[in-house]
């Protein structure tokens, strides 16, 4: 049962092997396997309902899997005795709908988890908040409330909030799907900068041009399976007709 030795090598940060998951009678993941190494950017693409978002959510245990194994930063995610909070300190997740806490300022949004979870001092946390906000280009929004920010700014603040926990891997779940092209651009720029800094990332996106530019590896999901995988080049020269059709309509 201990495949842990295989996936928990020094460079593997996220490893899924033969993951199955159903919602009732609907089979969403049908034997999914992929691996993400340190510093790598893995992009999950596929049609709506192909299981890519579910696969991403399983990594952070927002969904529990039926069978198979997931190992993230040494945590066996599929283990019922998993220390969930330890896993989530290592994994940052950013959602499509930003999900900033509306009753807190941007600074409070960012300092909440470092103070409550990691127990660092308020002063230290505020300093760090300034640093991560500068990283996403929002250092002047420290004392504003989320509703005072544009969608793109809110999403960048949400990324900063995740960064403040100093995760070992970041998950992005269609983070630009609610934004217009201009705002999408400013968010993607932030993600590019993170990738350049060597952050390990798994992202679900419909931005094919962006995926081509940033992905070390692309995983194309189809009917709950990894249908085709390879370097970003497969987006321009797909091997399977399904991916060809997908990128053909996606561009």
């Amino acid at each position: 049962m201990h495949k842990i030795t295989r996936t928990d090598t020094a460079s593997s940060v996220v490893g899924l092997s033969n993951v199955h998951k159903s919602f009732g009678a609907l089979k969403v993941l049908n034997g999914v396997s992929f691996e993400v190494n340190r510093g790598e950017v893995l992009v999950l693409i596929g049609r709506s309902g192909s299981g890519k978002s579910t696969a991403l959510r399983c990594i952070d245990r927002f969904e529990t899997i039926d069978s198979g194994e997931i190992v993230v930063c040494g945590h066996r995610v599929s283990d019922p005795k998993l220390d969930l909070r330890a896993l989530r300190q290592d994994v940052g997740i950013v959602f499509q709908s930003y999900n900033l806490f509306p009753h807190l300022t941007i600074e409070e949004n960012i300092t909440l988890a470092p103070c409550s979870v990691k127990g660092i001092s308020k002063v230290q946390a505020k300093e760090q908040a300034r640093r991560v906000l500068a990283q996403v280009g929002l250092e002047d929004k420290l004392h504003q409330y989320p509703e005072q920010l544009s969608g793109g700014q809110q999403q960048r603040a949400a990324i900063a909030r995740s960064l403040a926990m100093q995760p070992k891997v970041m998950l992005f779940d269609e983070v630009t799907s609610a934004l217009d092209p201009e705002l999408t651009g400013e968010v993607l720029k932030v993600i590019e900068a993170l990738a350049a800094d060597g952050m390990t990332m798994v992202m679900v996106t419909h931005e094919m041009g962006f995926a081509r530019g940033i992905a070390n590896r692309v995983v194309f999901m189809h009917h709950g399976k990894v249908h085709e995988t390879g370097p970003a080049a497969i987006l321009t020269s797909p091997a399977t007709p399904e991916l060809a059709q997908f990128v053909g309509t996606g561009l």
Partner: protein
Amino acid sequence: MGGSLNANHLMFLGYGALWTIGLSLIGLLGGGIAGFVIALCRISPSRIVRLLSAGYVQLIQGTPLLVIMFLTYFGLPALGVTVSPLMAAGASLTIFVSAYLGEIWRGCFESVPKPQWEAAEGLALSRSQRMMKVILPQAVQIATPPTVGFMVQIIKNTSLASVVGFVELARSGQIINNSLFEPFLIYTIIAVIYFALCYPLSLFSHRLEMRGGRARIELEAA
């Protein structure tokens, strides 16, 4: 016996009205604390806790307050526990209010959007940290108008305490009427006092609702 309504009668009614307010506050405070616990139990991760609390709510909501009052005031002494009218009325209201506020507040917790819960989980906050720092502050905003609205129900329901001999507003009206025999006049006065206590709360609740609604509309427009 007989005579006409005088200042002493009005004083007596005022005294009764004060007890109505006092009993309402006891119900709100006791029922609020118990209701908060019920609301937390209703959304507990434990199935058994959820089922038990749901059963409690169903049981209490399906029992008339009058019967709860009878049970505590007449039923408990039969079991060897003596209770004063104030204790019986206070305990009955607390039980009654806890079931309703528990259910109202459960709804408020659950109407905090699910992604907010997930975002808090994703940041590795513990369950109590998520509740106290993320969910509760948002739920309180949602809960304020219906809670203030429900206070009107509490005030009106205190009149049932008169059946266990507790002298609140309705009971003091009865007592005065027993000597004056002016039911229309006296019960009109009683009704006006109840209205004067309840209407400002209704108005306030409505205001809060409008304000919440407007804030949401502005937010969506932005």
